[in-house]
């Protein structure tokens, strides 16, 4: 699927799925009010939580959405407020939530069809000449029939239990 085609086909249903990805981060997330604050490669954005209904993403014409692939981070401070028990700081490092969104091409759909996985890794912060270990967990979920895959990464020993 070309980037141009993706722009044309990224509709309300797709956006709803992306929001579901947000909500899966925590069962208590739905209780949170206020805008969703995210940071992308092109700057900071604040989206109304109801953006699904008003096509906010399309209205804003966010540059990263001109591709099949989109990554952003939910700031740790925001996640702490939104998710009960979320640890925003471990080992002096902020534990942002990283969200990767992919609109699946036919080729990628064949690889990710039905995926609903959870993997945890031992990571290491780069603090030359030493490394500081941390726990990282990744969750992938394929949403059909819109054919969107969401992957979110939660860092921190205490945050691996949230999904």
């Amino acid at each position: 699927m070309s980037a141009k085609k993706w722009v044309l086909t990224f509709n309300k249903s797709n956006l709803r799925i992306v929001l579901v990805g947000f909500l899966l981060i925590s069962g208590v997330q739905a209780e949170t009010r206020g805008p969703i604050k995210i940071i992308t490669q092109d700057g900071r954005y604040s989206y109304p939580r109801e953006f699904v209904a008003i096509d906010e993403w399309e209205t804003l014409k966010v540059p990263p959405l001109k591709t099949n692939y989109f990554v952003f981070r939910l700031p740790a401070a925001y996640a702490k407020n939104a998710i009960n028990g979320f640890t925003a700081l471990e080992n002096y490092f902020k534990q942002d939530v990283i969200v990767t969104v992919e609109v699946l091409s036919k080729k990628r759909l064949a690889e990710l069809d039905g995926i609903d996985s959870q993997k945890c890794y031992q990571g290491n912060y780069d603090t030359y000449p030493q490394s500081v270990p941390y726990k990282r967990c990744e969750y992938r979920k394929h949403f059909s029939p819109e054919e969107v895959a969401v992957k979110y990464q939660l860092n921190g020993e205490n945050n691996q239990y949230f999904r």
Binding site: G123, D126, P129, A149
Partner: protein, 210 residues
Amino acid sequence: MPYEHTMSSLPIGLERLIYKLNALSDETEILLYFSAAWMSAHIDGYQPVLNNGFEGDAVLIHVGEQVKKDYARPHSVSIDLWYKRGVYENRVIMDQKEPYTGFYIIQPIPYQSRPDHDGEHWFLSETLPDESKPYPQTPPWLPYTCYRSNGIIENAKVITKCHIDAQIAEDIFIAVDFRSENLRVREEVFAVLAKEINSWIIDKDARNER
């Protein structure tokens, strides 16, 4: 080749680098960009955001018979490092593998001992060099070169990159600069890039038959 990997999506600094490369190029190399989102979507364990900055990898692709010969030549830096000679005569090896990356760190002394390069650099290797033994050639001992990408310390954290070459087809080589936190998934990165880049190859025989 998908449009998203072409130079239009590159940060300004990389566009300048491409301009420089194009000026020197004999059309056997091309610099592509794989975004943090693309890498994250394709590779389990890849960390797309580090130290509050978005990743994304510039991938330099070399193609051709001459490149194949160039890669097969002895690597003088690695040989000097192995035999502890030249600018690396005072190199220091950490006696234990770095616990979270699994590499030995080899540090040149003085730190800025690479000719024509001001920044500090060091090497990572899975096996130790031993100047009392012949330099291994099959396969050659080739440690990864790491360097400070910006040459400065930001909030007591150092931003580093490690340069790794890999062969992904008979006459196709790629070079990727990894953040050290993503070194753990380097084989996965190469496998995914090889699959993707090889899928772009047009069959020359099929093209000529049209």
